[in-house]
Symmetry: C2
Amino acid sequence: MREQKGILTVVSGFSGSGKGTIMKRLLERYPKEYALSVSATTRQPRPGEVHGREYFFVSAEEFEDMIARGDLIEYARYVENYYGTPRAYVEEQLLAGRNVILEIEIQGALKVKEVLPDTLLLFVTPPSAQELRARLEGRGTESPQVIEARLRRAAEEGQGVEQYEYLVVNDELEECVTLVHQIIQCEHSRMARCRNQINEINKELSSFVKQS
Amino acid sequence: MREQKGILTVVSGFSGSGKGTIMKRLLERYPKEYALSVSATTRQPRPGEVHGREYFFVSAEEFEDMIARGDLIEYARYVENYYGTPRAYVEEQLLAGRNVILEIEIQGALKVKEVLPDTLLLFVTPPSAQELRARLEGRGTESPQVIEARLRRAAEEGQGVEQYEYLVVNDELEECVTLVHQIIQCEHSRMARCRNQINEINKELSSFVKQS
């Protein structure tokens, strides 16, 4: 019944919102329906990171070639490194009908939405600021400076959130994964994504009336 | 966790789309989450129709009083009768956190959306025009004139459908009921409906940073 393209979903959220875990579980639970977009970066791999899994690790020259060829949907430079979203993989997966998930922060999310307006923007939050603070404070082993820096970052991350289309409250993980899955499923029924189907039906209905 | 108001959902669709059956099943399956809005009308009850179930049957004078008092969200006059949506019941149910379902045609749907912009508009269709035609032709016992009139009506019903927010394809009934339920559930996570919650979190986060 569904012959639609997949939906590109950008997931952002507060540090400590658990967005990484949600996406991991989403892919574990529905491996055929989702693909994770892997970013390219010029930063060095950290221990345990695998090329093509956490990131595509490329040289600055390779990255700049990708920019020049238009191979990136969006990219940004943080401190001394580039980060970007390769276009080819995302487009292939969407055409194959798989939903692609992309985890990036807000500036990147809005750039993606500009380039690909059908992109769905989700923002993940803990149920309350108190809960977020408790998560950021962790087991109380961090210095006050580290905790303050985290809170400051969270306060920044919340800016511009009104430009997202859904607010996903991560209270209980598995329920939250189900919600994210259902949001993406239901988005397939959004009128804006079904125009061809309904135009087809309307056209055929008119032809019945003209014939009769 | 959810302290939101309910969502008013207007369901329209082609005659023969099965929208009435979908709503009936939705209320049977989730009786606590949904309430059906009952329209007021000045037309005579048909055999088997119950006051307060199919319609509130009122006199023309009573109906005109309701209009004058602003008691109707929308109303229209067809042939010689008035039809309208009483406001009080809808608002009570929404405030109590129940989702209200309202089955009306497109002109009424758009009026409701104008008065209550948070209203969700769903349009129900069979999977194809061929399938719709087959359903309208029924068991082949109707005259060609009746079938043509039905097709003509369906062709009209499809006009303006792009103003709805979701297109619900009714292929298998129970799946379709699940989809409608999930669409309404997921709509509760729409950013536009969560502004208070996220503003609260952002405000509290800022206060943490100022304190520290």
